[in-house]
Amino acid sequence: MTTPHPIQVRHLRKVFDDKVAVADLSLTVERGEVFGFLGPNGAGKTTAVKMLLGLIVPTYGEGTLNGAPLGDPRGRARVGFLPEHFRFHEWLRGSEFLQLHADLYRMPRDVARRRIPELLDLVGLQAHARKRLSAYSKGMLQRIGLAQALLNDPDLVFLDEPTSGLDPVGRRLVRDIIRDLRERDKTVFLNSHLLSEVEITCDRVAFIKQGEIVHTSTLQGGAGAPLIEGDLTLQIRARPRGGWLSCPNGQWEVIVAGLAQWGRDVRAEQEQISLTVEGEADLPSIARYLIEQDVDVYALSPQRMSLEDLFVQLVGTESEG
């Protein structure tokens, strides 16, 4: 392997006392990818990010960050991080805060002198550079935190709920920054429970529930509501050839259950059948199967699922976030 994956982990697990925060996390994030980590509050998203950044030691499992084992500072050399609870040394002024973090990245002073005004400008805080952070609003703190995360022109950026304190203008700023990072072949790991944000920005999403990835999807960007590549809801209207009376008792249920080989969540209400399939490729097989089972097919319509549909389906209604 010439360039290592930005993130590659296998079977990461974290147990706090008796609470399982992350059950079993295996994940590979490709270079240049905007990866969304979706899940309700308390699903283990932040714990997962902290394990990747070496802030939390996994109970079990292993992995690498930019090719270095988790916890090794070399892996974090070209990494930026905006924590969920962005609390900083508030007696520092905005520009001093960025200088501090530039020093921690061992950034040469002349580079820092150029980078800091650029970033203040990017996040719209140039007018507040001389103000102490204690006088910053929540949104301003999040913006300066974002500038801090981008200071080192990182190859991999972790953003943990980056828009929680931002107004719509700030949210757009975050989106633009993510888009810009993607264009420059940077990798972004976005923790969020805001579906709209993820839908617009991410290439791929993983759904995490009770500390485990329950599903991964690739998103298709483009005009209109971005949709998920792969997952389709298939609506079928069909009836036994020769009518219901000619169909032996239980035969229809067996035919319907047979559809499970192509998808999941198979449901049937008399002639209305629905199931979730992973792509269009299986549709001809499904049609052929039904015909071979002596079934008359009246409709077979694939519908793409929105992220929200998928979220509700996968994560369920127990999420209170």
Partner: protein, 279 residues
Amino acid sequence: MATWVIARLTLREALQRKIALGAVLLGIVFLAVYGAGLHFIRQDMTRGVQAPTALIANQLYNFLSLSGLYVVNFLFVMMAVLTSVDTIAGEMASGRIHTLASKPLRRWEILIGKWIGFVIMLTLYLLLMGGGVAGVARLVTGYRLPNLLRGLGLIWLNGILMLNVTMYGGTQLSALTNGVLVLAGFGIAFVGGWVEQIGSFLDSQAAVTIGILTSLLMPSEALWKRAAYEMRSLVVETTGFSPFNSGSSVPSALMIGYAALYALVALGLAVWSLERRDL
């Protein structure tokens, strides 16, 4: 180097939050009050009908200088504990440590950086206060404390010892719990020291043993007693009795070595504990 960046941050924080300014201003007030007191005592003494002999005056000035340093020792320890008690625990409780520890650095660099910052700050404080007391005494009375550097060195070690113990506690406990425990330890050592002192005067071996045991538990008072012993007057040296220590209960060089090792181990534990814990 990240250690130095954090050390500078710690020093700047002390300046910004006016800890340094407050300590210096009140320290100057303390020195002024102390100097004024000395001045009037001396004035009354030399004006009296029976002016004391040089030996008595010498003993009195020694006692007054050591009294001043006794307060400095106490203030220095308090300063060490109070300024550092929140430094690790506070960064962890607030989450500020997340942006620091996720940088390409080792956690020990954060802890040692802070430690260096505090050591610089505390050393300057001790030079101001300890040097100030000795200097004011010299200026007002002309008396010169014997072995001043050695004495101040032991007081310095005392403060560093308390700093290290506090920093270790800070990696495990909340600031409040840590502060209460460290000061309780200091209090136990203090009481144990006096039990030993009085026990030694009354020839009670049990009381001396209690004193030694508390010194092993927390050697802070032993360091002060040794410092006072180093700076003792001629009278104390001949009679073997002083308000600050008496002949047979002077902490040995071994105890001082133990205290230095204790401080080193506490710092090592602080590093080990921070490296391992979840942030």
